[in-house]
C-alpha cells in the first residue's frame, strides 16, 4: 500500500511537467505581451523591460529558467502587479479560495448524500420526486445564474446578506451555497443510483430475512455499501470546487486566487498564469490520488499492489 501511494504521488511529477510545458508554450504563443497596456510604452522601454525579465531569451531558455525557479519554490515576479511577487499574490488569496471550496464541498456532501438516500428510500414516491426535483434544479442552473439570482434575491431585495466581499461569516453564506448547488445535485443523483443498486443485492435480502429491523438494514448494510462508489466522485468534485470558484469569486468580489486566472491571461501575466495552472493541476492530480487511496481503505474488496 505504501509503495502504491508512493508510486502514485511520484507520478504527479511527470503530469505536472507535461502540463507546465504545454501551458508555457501555449501561453507564449498568445499574441501580445505583458507590456501592452492602456498606455502604450515606447519600444525602447519595452525592450529594456523584456531584457530585465528575460523575455528576450529563446523560449526554451525561458522555460528552463522558469522551471528552475519553480522547483525552488520561486514563482517569479508578477508582470502586472510589479511591486509584488507571484508568491505574495498566491499566498494572499489561496486560503480564501481553499476555504470557499472546502465549505462548498462540505455543504455539498452534507446535503447531497442525505438527499440521495432520502430519494432512494422513498423510491417512486413523494420523497423521490422532491429530492429529484431539487437535484434537477441544481443540474439545470449554471453557477453564474445561481450566483446572480441569489445576489438579487437574498442580498438586494431581502437584504439578508451582503452583496459581495469576504469579511466575515455572513459574507460566506451566498457564495458557498451558489458554488455548492451543482455538486449537491451530482452527489444526490449518484447516491440515489448507488442506493437503488444496492437495494437489489442478495445481502440486503439476507439481512431482511434474518429479521433485522429496517432501520438497521438501511444504516448498517445499505448506506455503508452504497456510499463506496460515491467516494469516487468526491475527488473530482472537490477539485472542481477549488478550481471552479473563479466565477463565484468574480460575482461576489471575493479576494481569492481564482479571479487572477482570467485576468492573468488577459494581461499576459505569464508567471501568475503558470503559478495558477500548476496549482490547479496539482490540486486535481493530488486529490485523485487521495480518492483512490481512500477508496481502497473503505472498500476491502479493492487491493492495490
Amino acid at each position: 500500500m505504501i509503495a502504491y501511494i508512493g508510486r502514485r504521488l511520484l507520478w504527479i511529477i511527470p503530469v505536472l511537467f507535461t502540463v507546465s510545458v504545454i501551458t508555457f508554450f501555449l501561453m507564449h504563443s498568445v499574441p501580445g505581451g505583458p507590456w501592452d497596456r492602456e498606455k502604450h510604452l515606447p519600444q525602447g522601454t519595452q525592450d529594456r523591460l523584456n531584457a530585465q525579465y528575460g523575455l528576450d531569451q529563446p523560449i526554451y531558455v525561458q522555460y528552463a529558467r522558469w522551471a528552475g525557479a519553480f522547483i525552488q519554490g520561486d514563482l517569479g515576479p508578477s508582470y502586472r502587479f510589479q511591486d509584488r511577487t507571484v508568491n505574495d499574490i498566491v499566498a494572499d488569496g489561496i486560503w480564501t479560495t481553499v476555504q470557499l471550496g472546502v465549505m462548498a464541498f462540505l455543504l455539498a456532501v452534507a446535503v447531497g448524500i442525505p438527499l440521495g438516500i432520502f430519494a432512494a428510500l422513498g423510491h417512486n414516491k413523494a420523497p423521490d420526486y422532491i429530492a429529484t426535483s431539487i437535484s434537477i434544479i441544481g443540474i439545470a442552473t449554471p453557477v453564474f445564474v445561481l450566483g446572480i439570482l441569489m445576489t438579487v434575491f437574498f442580498a438586494v431585495q431581502l437584504g439578508w446578506f451582503p452583496t459581495g466581499g469576504w469579511k466575515g461569516p455572513q459574507y460566506w453564506v451566498l457564495p458557498t451555497i451558489a458554488l455548492a448547488g451543482f455538486p449537491i445535485a451530482i452527489i444526490a443523483r449518484y447516491t440515489r443510483a448507488s442506493m437503488l443498486e444496492v437495494t437489489r443485492k442478495d445481502y440486503i435480502r439476507t439481512a431482511q430475512s434474518k429479521g433485522l429491523r429496517d432501520q438497521a438494514v438501511v444504516s448498517r448494510h445499505m448506506i455503508r455499501n452504497a456510499l463506496i462508489p460515491v467516494v469516487t466522485i468526491l475527488g473530482p468534485t472537490l477539485a472542481f470546487l477549488v478550481t471552479g470558484s473563479f466565477i463565484i469569486e468574480r460575482i461576489f468580489g471575493i479576494p481569492g486566487v481564482g479571479q487572477y486566472y482570467i485576468t492573468a491571461i488577459g494581461t499576459r501575466d505569464y508567471s501568475l498564469l503558470m503559478a495558477m495552472t500548476m496549482l490547479y493541476a496539482f490540486a486535481v492530480a493530488f486529490l485523485n490520488v487521495v480518492v483512490d487511496v481512500l477508496y481502497a481503505y473503505i472498500d476491502p474488496r479493492i487491493r492495490y499492489s
Binding site: I12, T23, I148, Y261
Partner: protein, 314 residues
C-alpha cells in the same frame, strides 16, 4: 423506475420479439416518461437550432429603435407588441436572440461530441485492444489531460488562437468547441478502453480470432458495436456538460463575437439591468435549463434502456 408500470405488456410482447437489441432498447426508452420528456426537449432544441432563424420574428441583430425610444430608452418588457419576450437595451428582440443562441448550443452539442468521439474512441479502442505498453502509455496520457484545469485550459486555447483563421471560423465558435472537446475526450477514451478489455475476453471474439479475422475487423465489427451502449450514454450525458461549458465561457466573454449572442453572453449583458429588467436574465436561464434537463433526462433514459444488467429484469 418509471418503466415499472409497463412491466406486463413488455413481457407479453416479448415472444414475438425477434427484434434486434437496439429496437428492444428503443422500446424501453419510449416507455420511460422522463426519457420521453428529454427526447421532446432535445427535439425542440434541435428544431430551434436548425430552423430558428426562419421562425424568429426578427433577425437577431435588428434594433427596434422606435419602440425603445417610446419606452424611454429602456429595454421593452415581455409581452410587448411585436416583441413577445421583450427586447434588450439596444431594442433587439429577445426571442430572436434566444433562437440564435439555440443554434449555437446545438452546434456546441454536435461539434464537441464529434471531437470527443473522434479522439476518445480511437485512443480507447487502441489502448484496450493492444494492451501492454501501448495501453500504459495511453492511460498515462489521459492522466495528464485529466489533471489539466479544464475550463482554464479552454480559456487559454481560445485566447491563444483567437486571431488565427481557425479562431475566426464560425464567429469564433469553432475554436471554443474544439477546445471544449480537447479536454473532454478522456472520459470516453477510458470508457471505450474498459469496454474493449471486457469484450476482448468473450468467446465470440476468440472465435473470430480463431477463424483468422484481422485485428482491425474484430475491433470494428465486433468490439465497437458491442461496446457502443455505454459510449452512447456517455456522449449524450456529455452534451449538457459541453453546453454548460460554452455558456460559462460566453458569460465571462470568451467565444461568440457580437452581434451574435449565446445564452451565456445574453445573461452577462442582462445582468447589468437585472434589478429593473430581470427578464433579460431569466429567459436565457430558462432556455439553458431546458436544454440541460433535456439532454440529462435523455441520457439517463438511454442508460436505463441500454444497460444490459437491467435487461429482462424490468
Amino acid at each position: 423506475m418509471a418503466t415499472n408500470t409497463t412491466v406486463v405488456p413488455a413481457r407479453l410482447a416479448k415472444p414475438k420479439a425477434a427484434a434486434g437489441p437496439w429496437r428492444e432498447a428503443f422500446g424501453r426508452l419510449v416507455r420511460n416518461k422522463l426519457a420521453v420528456l428529454g427526447l421532446i426537449l432535445v427535439s425542440l432544441l434541435l428544431f430551434c437550432g436548425i430552423f430558428g432563424p426562419l421562425i424568429a420574428p426578427w433577425p437577431y441583430q435588428d434594433q427596434d429603435l422606435q419602440a425603445i425610444f417610446a419606452n424611454g430608452n429602456r429595454p421593452l418588457p415581455p409581452l410587448s407588441p411585436n416583441h413577445i419576450l421583450g427586447t434588450d437595451q439596444l431594442g433587439r428582440d429577445l426571442l430572436s436572440r434566444l433562437l440564435d443562441g439555440a443554434r449555437i448550443s446545438v452546434t456546441v452539442a454536435f461539434v464537441v461530441q464529434f471531437v470527443i468521439i473522434f479522439i476518445g474512441v480511437p485512443v480507447g479502442a487502441f489502448s484496450g485492444w493492444f494492451g501492454g505498453r501501448t495501453d500504459n502509455f495511453m492511460m498515462r496520457l489521459t492522466d495528464v489531460f485529466y489533471a489539466f484545469p479544464d475550463l482554464l485550459f479552454i480559456i487559454l486555447l481560445s485566447v491563444a488562437f483567437r486571431e488565427t483563421v481557425f479562431g475566426q471560423a464560425l464567429d469564433g465558435l469553432l475554436l471554443v468547441f474544439v477546445a471544449i472537446g480537447l479536454v473532454g475526450w478522456v472520459t470516453v477514451a477510458r470508457l471505450t478502453r474498459g469496454q474493449m478489455l471486457a469484450l476482448k475476453e468473450t468467446e465470440f471474439v476468440e472465435a473470430a480470432k480463431a477463424i483468422g479475422v484481422s485485428d482491425r475487423k474484430i475491433v470494428m465489427r465486433h468490439l465497437l458495436p458491442n461496446g457502443m451502449g455505454p459510449i452512447i450514454v456517455a456522449i449524450t450525458l456529455g452534451v449538457p456538460v459541453a453546453i454548460l461549458a460554452e455558456a460559462t465561457l460566453a458569460y465571462i466573454g470568451i467565444g461568440v463575437q457580437p452581434p451574435r449572442a449565446s445564452w451565456g453572453s445574453l445573461i452577462a449583458e442582462g445582468q447589468k439591468y437585472i434589478r429593473s429588467e430581470p427578464h433579460l436574465v431569466i429567459f436565457p436561464a430558462i432556455f439553458i435549463a431546458l436544454a440541460l434537463i433535456g439532454f440529462t433526462f435523455l441520457g439517463d433514459g438511454l442508460r436505463d434502456a441500454l444497460d444490459p444488467k437491467l435487461k429482462g429484469k424490468q
